[in-house]
Symmetry: C2
Subunit: 332 residues, 2 copies
DNA sequence: CTGAAAGCGCTTACAG
DNA sequence: CTGAAAGCGCTTACAG
């Protein structure tokens, strides 16, 4: 920087101003400075700038389990918005290890990051001396009554919409494979399932609700059990795509054609959903957009101009593909 | 820090030493300092430390396309090693946009990161004034004759091993779906395929090599074309799992049972491979370990004690699942 | 519009 | 083993 200043015949303050707020510098000076910067190949040292400004331009994205492809799409959205806003993104999977979550809060205390995008569905439980919450935006998941800015979808309505569609196709015996029920997202999707059934005049039957844990394996097991029933369902709505894929596998093993004898609907529209055989009908979340929106809100928060309040609720889309069809003739 | 120093009755230098090199501080002083730190709830400011030490403790992981699940596993490995070594990881997908790669090299120049783990398969082409390469380790991919420290598998041998296995099952008519052929990994796997065939006394037939681009769709199209032949293959070796999945889908559409009438082998062992129907036989890469190993080498490099030279070549494993079986009776 | 100077919060070579 | 002091490379309030 000193070299640039010498070459341009100005002070280092002017170099800095040219870079940070060029409008405060006379055009002629600015050009001289830019030429010198170019000549020397100068790049400002972010370390020094960060210290001076007491900001890192880095945010942390905390996800539940990184292997879930849904989070990947979320990350893409976060990253592209971050790039546009001049931030870097540190993604980290927590994998249900609370100490890892806390490690990330320490990173904020140590000023390694400016804020957090929380996609884990729960605030880290804090030890004795509860540190103040860092600037934070919740995405995908939400924390009821936390008052934190949140970017999400309406899981109840989206799930109900999927089941509505099955009803439209003539299905009455619609089963549901849930996610882990302590989680609010799983509960919301279950609620939507029940709401749609009632709306269609069908009394929800608890025996047609099977618990899964979002893995393909659990979807497979749950569906296998449901299909062993004497009166078996003609449609299964799974709370995510992986479980829907497991359900299709179970149907095939039971000798049932999908969608001829069993319709299956998933949730998320992960990358693999359209590649699956049969291509999966599923509720698409705008994951890119959700990530970008969360990053934008966090950046606003950090810039001190968070005008908005409450939740951003984004739209979902039911993508009808090959895994759903009209109810089989003899089934009703 | 000043507050801690006052409370402990020492200078800030001693606080710093207690944290950085505790052995240089008398035990009694150390305890007093630690108590004061605890009392005040002091956390050192990483921004200041970074500036002082001229290091960021951050590395960049550059991947080709983030949606590829393989990179996810790589990231996990990198991240866990990074955590152990005190580094943060910035993952970024380049998505074949060269300007993005360059952006990451700028980040090094601006001292936002200390080094790069390159998983893109190509050095960013640099503009006119070629800047010096940053501390860098290549992983998964490799750059022939670059002399850069590299962590990889032996793609030729691994591919040959997969084809050997098909030969063992009695297959003679073994087709191959390649990745994009400009890429060295795709070429290596093709080379391994040919080598195994020759070893088995089968003359490679170019008509049984179909080009794909690593997507499920391309695997589907390539396999569909192969299966339309009058003499159709009894086995397909695909250069990655997604294409193998597409191939299975094509087989089913052609009314062929997998593995009864067609065996399919993939490469990578992504998360979905075992969930696929039928569960995919595939060459498992030690992706976690590769990532961790790359991060370790980069950390050594940055610490100035990179003793090793040349490539780390890790072992692959053929995971035999349900998509492969003996050659059908009438086929030979 | 520009410069001189202070200061961000650490770490570390040096002196004792 | 400990302290006083310099300094990392910027940015910015202040003065002109």
């Amino acid at each position: 920087m000193k070299d640039v200043a010498r070459l341009a015949g100005v002070s280092t303050a002017t170099i800095s101003r040219t870079l940070v707020s060029p409008d405060k510098v006379r055009a002629e000076t600015r050009e001289r400075v830019m030429a010198a910067i170019e000549r020397i190949g100068y790049a400002p040292n972010a370390l020094a700038r960060n210290l001076r400004q007491m900001r890192t331009s880095t945010v942390i994205l905390l996800v539940r389990q990184i292997v879930n492809p849904f989070y990947l799409e979320l990350f893409r959205g976060v990253e592209s918005a971050a790039r546009a806003r001049g931030y870097n993104v540190l993604m980290s999977n927590v994998e249900s290890r609370p100490e890892r979550e806390l490690a990330y809060f320490d990173m904020i205390r140590e000023r390694r990051a400016d804020g957090v995008i929380l996609a884990t569905g729960a605030l880290p439980s804090r030890r004795g001396r509860a540190p103040a919450l860092p600037p934070m935006v919740v995405v995908s998941e939400y924390l009821p009554r936390s008052g934190l800015p949140t970017v999400r979808i309406d899981n109840v309505a989206a799930a109900a919409g999927a089941v509505d569609y099955l009803v439209t196709l003539g299905h009455q015996r619609i089963a549901h494979v849930t996610g882990p029920l302590p989680e609010v997202l799983s509960r919301d999707r279950l609620k939507g399932y029940r709401r749609a059934l009632r709306r269609a005049g069908i009394e929800p039957d608890e025996r047609w609700v099977a618990r899964g844990d979002y893995t393909t394996r659990s979807g497979h097991a749950a569906a296998a059990a449901l299909l062993r029933r004497r009166r078996r369902p003609t449609a299964i709505f799974a709370a995510n795509d992986e479980m829907a894929m497991g359900a299709i596998k179970a149907a095939r093993e039971a000798g049932l054609d999908v969608p001829g004898q069993l319709s299956v609907v998933g949730f998320d529209d992960i990358n693999m959903a359209s590649a699956w055989d049969p291509a999966l009908t599923t509720v698409a979340q705008p994951s890119d957009e959700m990530g970008a929106c969360a990053m934008d809100r966090l950046a606003d928060l950090l810039a001190g101009d968070d005008t908005r309040n409450g939740d951003d609720v984004l739209e979902t889309t039911l993508r009808v593909r090959e895994s759903t069809g009209p109810v089989p003739r003899r089934a009703n």
